[in-house]
Symmetry: C2
């Protein structure tokens, strides 16, 4: 593998001798104007016109019936799980290859994640693996699916659209219908990604977006819950505002709640960012093409493209190295690191993280076969200064 | 009770015919400058120089060894409980008269709150009530205190400095020493309040601050963990950043973590606010004196002042009505409401909130005797336009 060529290409691409980050945001629109407006209005906290407007624009852009802005993507996913009825002791199906938050929120609910394999097509949850698990271990009664051995209720499937590339949703939706499961899309990385023309996060019962600093648009820290159901949206909104019952003055909270709403200050930034998202998406696609052009001549490395059924946001440019070798990978990363280019490996698989390793898992051969092969390369949309 | 006189006084005080809020923030300093600087730097998310500077200035202002900025006060309190070693099934002592978040975080830990009475002196946790409970129900062994009947470990005491007025800390500290309990001060409302010359939140093992929109300074949404121990601060910092182990590129999370850090964007606002806090504190004290002057002539109403041992931030101006009558209170609130003046009652007591009502409680006669008597009046520091 010709690391020097890749390094040289990235340096030329970003026309920079400085440190090259993984994904820096770009603020060229109304960010300053809107943020200053929140300060002038004094409404910087969780109530304000930018929260409403940002939610409305997220709804328009994604085609979701309802969006509820939250303090971050983890909070959005946690609240979605809560509203979907996942309870203590339940089983929730997810993928082993994902960011730790996907597993953490299931754990936070007192539920048990079960880690399944990813699909080679999408790098996200493999429908075949889900189907196999359910046919082997699950049965169904009037209350839904349950684990035949442990008796645990199987409540939901949480696929994650890895690096922005959509998972095989039709197949997962069919499984959810067959087994009466809730589909919660972890769309933290896939704002702007479409599955057969529809926005990721809107095909399942819930979607969870993230607007962290390295995402395609940012609110500083932030996220959003997407849902089709106006009733569930109302529930989610209440839940994220400490479950306070609407009243002129009384402080009654009629169930457990969270302090998870996005402040108006952050929403103002997000609204300005969202106005530019189509430009960002075009630039990301262009960046992918540039990487494709140079990488097609490099042996032992394959650039990850969008699955056929999808239009990806190409959030993170990703290569897969031929050999699954920690040594080769670390040599690559060290070289990048020394060259002050931020490249990163895939997350440590969830069933290997210390606090999650005792949860159940199935065959994870694809995830395991990828664990030292995936590297994310610098993916900021704007090139040069 | 002469409600008309109070209404008239508040209208004159704020020189306004518009809606008068409970507590509006004031942005007259470097807020815009600093916030724009984060946008120019592109560092708007959880890493950035304003996060570091804000934490440093919070340390200097409070005299705390370490401060860790979080996404809100609930997150700060939750993380403090986690780091202090509270575990599933443990008992945590707190007061019945507090905002719902104090109880929620204990519940989030899988621990059980036990609701005790408040002190007439402070409106916060009553040391006598704590002592009585422990002498009646607790014993101590080499691992600390436990409940003699249930066997549950009693781990921590969480007093809340109600409306900014400090609780009787010396007495609570003595109890914690005697019973080997961790003291976690819920200082969400008491930034700027001193107990015998020392800042609230720094006398216990942990303190939790809030910078919500209605607090004495605001970051939009935000909070901070205070702690004396550099070791525990390092633990808290790691815990609030998904427990990620520091590494050049690996994504290893060696325990359960949270996504609880404050973004740089919000810290920038907070830093500018903190530069002005001494002015805000002076204005709040002045406001208290104005309320005192007018209210001393009104029968059946007493203005809450700072406990003798303290210097309060006078966050919320608070009256206590003589009679504990929902009817009288609601008549007052309705009148205020109709006059577009935001006045609010005290929170519904925690043992009456639906999701917390099955937790244990002791005698709550003081809290119960206050439940319809407390009203918070408009407390914005700046008067007039």
């Amino acid at each position: 593998m010709n690391i020097n060529l890749i390094t040289k290409f990235i340096r030329e691409l970003y026309k920079s001798n400085d440190f090259i980050p993984l994904h820096a945001p770009t603020f060229g629109g109304n960010e300053k104007k809107y943020v200053l407006e929140t300060i002038d209005s004094t409404f910087v906290s969780s109530v304000g016109k930018f929260v409403d407007q940002f939610e409305k624009e997220i709804e328009l852009f994604t085609g979701s019936n309802k969006a509820i802005a939250t303090s971050n993507g983890t909070a959005a996913l946690h609240a979605a799980l809560h509203v979907s009825g996942v309870q203590k002791g339940d089983l929730v199906i997810t993928q082993a290859l994902t960011f730790v938050a996907t597993g953490n929120v299931i754990h936070h609910m007192g539920a048990s994640p079960i880690f399944l394999d990813v699909s080679k097509k999408s790098l996200g949850l493999c429908p075949l693996a889900v189907s196999k698990f359910l046919h082997k271990f699950a049965a169904i009664d009037q209350d839904g699916a349950f684990h035949k051995k442990t008796g645990q209720r199987i409540k939901a499937i949480v696929p994650m659209h890895t690096f922005g590339h959509p998972v095989e949703l039709d197949e997962l939706i069919a499984i959810c219908e067959e087994w009466k499961l809730t589909l919660i899309e972890d769309a933290a990385e896939s704002l702007g990604s479409l599955y057969k023309g529809r926005h990721t996060g809107t095909l399942g019962d819930f979607g969870a977006l993230s607007f962290n600093g390295n995402k395609i648009i940012t609110t500083g820290g932030g996220g959003a819950i997407l849902t089709k159901s106006k009733y569930l949206a109302t529930r989610a909104l209440k839940l994220t505002t400490t479950s306070k019952v609407s009243h002129k003055w009384e402080y009654i909270h009629d169930e457990l709640g969270y302090n998870y709403r996005m402040p108006n200050l952050n929403s103002a930034l997000g609204l300005a960012q969202l106005e530019k998202i189509n430009i960002f998406l075009r630039l990301k696609k262009k960046l992918f093409k540039k990487y494709s052009f140079i990488l097609k001549n490099i042996d032992d490395v394959k650039l990850v493209s969008q699955p056929k059924f999808s239009k990806s946001n190409f959030w993170l440019q990703t290569i897969v190295i031929k050999k699954n070798s920690k040594k080769i990978r670390d040599r690559f990363l060290l070289k990048m690191h020394k060259n002050r280019i931020f490249a990163r490996p895939v997350w440590n698989l969830l069933h290997k993280q210390k606090h999650l390793k005792n949860y159940p898992k199935m065959n994870l051969s694809t995830a395991e076969s990828l664990k030292y092969r995936i590297i994310n390369l610098p993916s900021s949309p704007y090139l040069g200064k």
